[in-house]
């Protein structure tokens, strides 16, 4: 069963490499990171810029790739479905096959410049955090892309439109809404509420984790005791990682259910 999963994944890797898109994606991160380090003075500032780019583009690219893959390999999926293969194995094969190359492209593309500018040694923990978050976000948004691809299996325009809207919402509009809420209910103690609301958006979660790593001195100065306690302890990191895991698990699980029951 595992060998079958691997077989499907390998097949995808081959076709992805043939398509060269993944290689291009990795190269973009390579060039970006290198130029950030070369011209941005190096050090934590470059890592921050990298994390900004990562927070914005990885969700978009991940989702587009996920949905695109479902649409492009329709015949391939339907052909495999006629074979005596467990649908669960097929789903995982497809998912691993698409998400790992994307993840690797980002990680390797950013890691190499970080290594040759020797940032990896001087700022190991922040580098690892940025790369790790990028990897997790890739998985989350590929699985979301899969989900939308399966949900709008026959209506590609709708599927792509939905993807773009979801990305816009999560990456930009959501924070605007949070700000609006904060100003509307400004008289009430909002710290817990604001933390809870930010936990509901994976991009915000990743951003907060980056913030915890880079802006600790600002956060330690925050007057709200609840924030201080939350950010000051390791509880913050643990809760955030837990929420990211949930964000990874739920879309994948729904995707799997849809895939299992779908009448192709």
């Amino acid at each position: 069963m595992n060998s079958l999963l691997l077989h499907i994944a390998k097949n995808e890797w081959k076709s992805l490499l043939r398509g060269k898109w993944v290689v291009g994606y990795g190269l973009i991160f390579l060039l970006l990171t290198d130029s950030l380090l070369r011209f941005g003075g190096g050090g934590p500032e470059a890592l921050l810029s990298l994390s900004n780019v990562m927070l914005l583009f990885i969700p978009l690219v991940g989702m587009i790739y996920g949905i695109l893959y479902i649409y492009q390999s329709r015949e391939f999926i339907e052909l495999l479905l006629t074979q005596p293969i467990d649908r669960k194995v097929l789903f995982w094969g497809l998912f691993v096959g698409i998400s790992t190359p994307l993840m690797l492209a980002f990680v390797v593309g950013s890691l190499l410049p970080l290594a040759w500018h020797s940032i990896l040694m001087t700022a190991a923990a922040p580098s690892a955090m940025v790369l790790g978050l990028g990897a997790v976000l890739t998985m989350i948004f590929v699985s979301l892309g899969f989900l939308f691809g399966l949900a709008f299996y026959d209506d590609r325009i709708k599927g792509f439109g939905f993807t773009i809207v979801v990305w816009l919402f999560l990456a930009i509009l959501y924070d605007g809404l949070v700000l609006m809420l904060v100003f509307t209910f400004g008289q009430y103690p909002l710290e817990r509420f604001v933390i809870a609301v930010s936990m509901l958006n994976p991009i915000d979660l990743a951003r907060i984790m980056v913030m915890l790593e880079f802006d600790v001195s600002a956060l330690m100065g925050y007057t709200g005791a609840v924030f201080n306690r939350f950010f000051g302890s390791s509880l913050g990191i643990i809760t955030a990682s837990g929420m990211l895991t949930i964000w990874l698990a739920i879309p994948t699980w729904i995707g799997l259910r849809v895939f299992k029951k779908k009448d192709f």
């Binding site: 959501y174 904060v182 400004g186 951003r207 001195s217 600002a218 956060l219 201080n228």
Partner: protein, 419 residues
């Protein structure tokens, strides 16, 4: 005739005796105190000594407190004798001019909520030297009250009482003139170095860290200088208040974290210089309230939460040639108006260009971001830091300032770090 002769003889003798006495006076004697005797108590040694003598104390533990010196002499420890105050009262009191205390360990003063028990108290004396002593578990460390021209040098003061109320200050100066506080190391006290009503203090090369309140607390003390000191991980950083003509140069302020912790807090300061200091990873690097005519020049302000928090009560302060590097927020203020000058600084957050290549950016830099104004109004929105939405708002505001102070900008932002 005969009686006259005897008279003359007596006069001669008394003159001779007097001469001998004078010689004995000028050749300072040395009194030795050691645990195995004959003199086993430092107080007894001091009492036996005449003015100008040296009391040499050899290694060992001396359980004594309230030792008093009331005449000029040198009290010298050989191989660090330990004076243990047995948690009662003050250990050593200096009440005369020209006294030197050198090379001792002091331990266990009394603690009190009413009296300032101290390891070394210098009371209304001048020209003293307190040097190379180690103080552990003391309430107050070295206390200077109404003194003149004294030197406190290379002492080490450590005490670990986490409660602010029950810990005293490391080096405490009250109504003091011309003190020199040099190369001391103070850790875990209430205030590391405390000055009140001090004139022309020189505070150089000290390290003050992990104190419950301020690393250096400067009140009503005009005309002082402090150079090359390190203030690290203090509960509230450094406070310099109600003084004028203070020079602060080449100090390091780092890792002072907390809701009310500042690298350097300025309150009601006038005509002072802050130059060549380094502020690294503080919650707020420089906080200024009701301060005027301060020159803030050539400082290196790096990776702080807020580089500058300047209240509208501060005016005519000049921020020039500073490096602002990777601070989460550059400037925060509570007013839409600006009464201070920011000119020719380097801001790592500057995004402008330099077409004529003269090293100065062609568009002004506005160090107060819209987000810092938002945070001022709604602190909870801090959670949105570094989000795309906030970035868009900030960029829009920089192009068309509406809510941020319109007149607070650096017209000549440097393109490169100032060395």
């Amino acid at each position: 005739m005969k009686t006259f002769g005897t008279m003359k003889f007596f006069i001669h003798i008394s003159l001779l005796l007097f001469g001998l006495l004078v010689i004995a006076e000028s050749a300072a004697a040395q009194i030795t105190v050691r645990p195995e005797g004959p003199v086993t108590s430092i107080q007894v040694g001091i009492d036996q000594a005449a003015a100008g003598d040296t009391v040499v104390v050899h290694a060992g533990t001396y359980q004594e407190n309230n030792i008093e010196i009331t005449k000029p002499l040198v009290l010298m420890g050989i191989d660090r004798p330990l004076i243990d105050g047995d948690n009662e009262g003050t250990i050593l009191v200096i009440r005369a001019d020209s006294i030197t205390v050198q090379g001792f360990d002091f331990r266990n003063t009394g603690r009190s909520y009413i009296r300032d028990y101290t390891a070394i108290l210098i009371d209304q004396a001048s020209d003293f030297i307190v040097e190379d002593n180690h103080l552990y578990n003391v309430f107050f460390g070295i206390y200077l009250a109404e003194t003149n021209r004294g030197i406190v040098r290379n002492n080490r003061i450590e005490s670990y009482d986490r409660r602010e109320a029950s810990s005293g200050n490391g080096i405490h100066l009250w109504y003091v003139k011309n003190p020199e506080i040099i190369g001391n190391h103070v850790e875990g006290m209430r205030d590391g170095i405390y000055l009140e009503f001090v004139e022309d203090a020189r505070i150089n090369g000290n390290i003050s860290s992990k104190n419950n309140r301020y690393g250096l607390h400067y009140m009503f003390s005009n005309g002082g200088t402090y150079y090359d000191n390190t203030f690290r991980k203090n509960g509230a950083g450094v406070a310099v208040m109600y003084s004028e003509n203070v020079d602060m140069k080449n100090n390091l302020f780092e890792n002072n974290w907390g809701a009310s912790s500042y690298g350097l807090l300025l309150k009601d300061m006038r005509q002072s210089n802050i130059e060549g200091n380094r502020f690294y990873r503080n919650t707020v690097a420089i906080y200024s309230e009701s301060s005027t005519n301060i020159q803030i020049k050539n400082n290196h302000i790096e990776q702080n939460g807020w580089a500058i928090n300047i209240k509208s009560s501060s005016a005519r302060n000049y921020f020039t040639k500073n490096n602002f590097i990777e601070n989460s927020f550059d400037v925060r203020t509570d007013s839409p108006r600006n009464n201070n000058v920011f000119e020719g600084n380097y801001w790592s957050n500057y995004e402008g260009y330099d077409l004529d290549r003269d090293g100065i950016g062609d568009v002004p830099y506005r160090p107060v971001s819209l987000f810092s104004v938002i945070i001022e109004k709604q602190p909870e929105s801090l959670i949105l830091m570094r989000s795309m939405f906030i970035r868009l708002l900030d960029t829009a505001e920089r192009i068309m300032p509406v809510l941020t102070p319109k007149t607070l900008y650096d017209e000549q932002p440097k393109m490169h770090r100032i060395p």
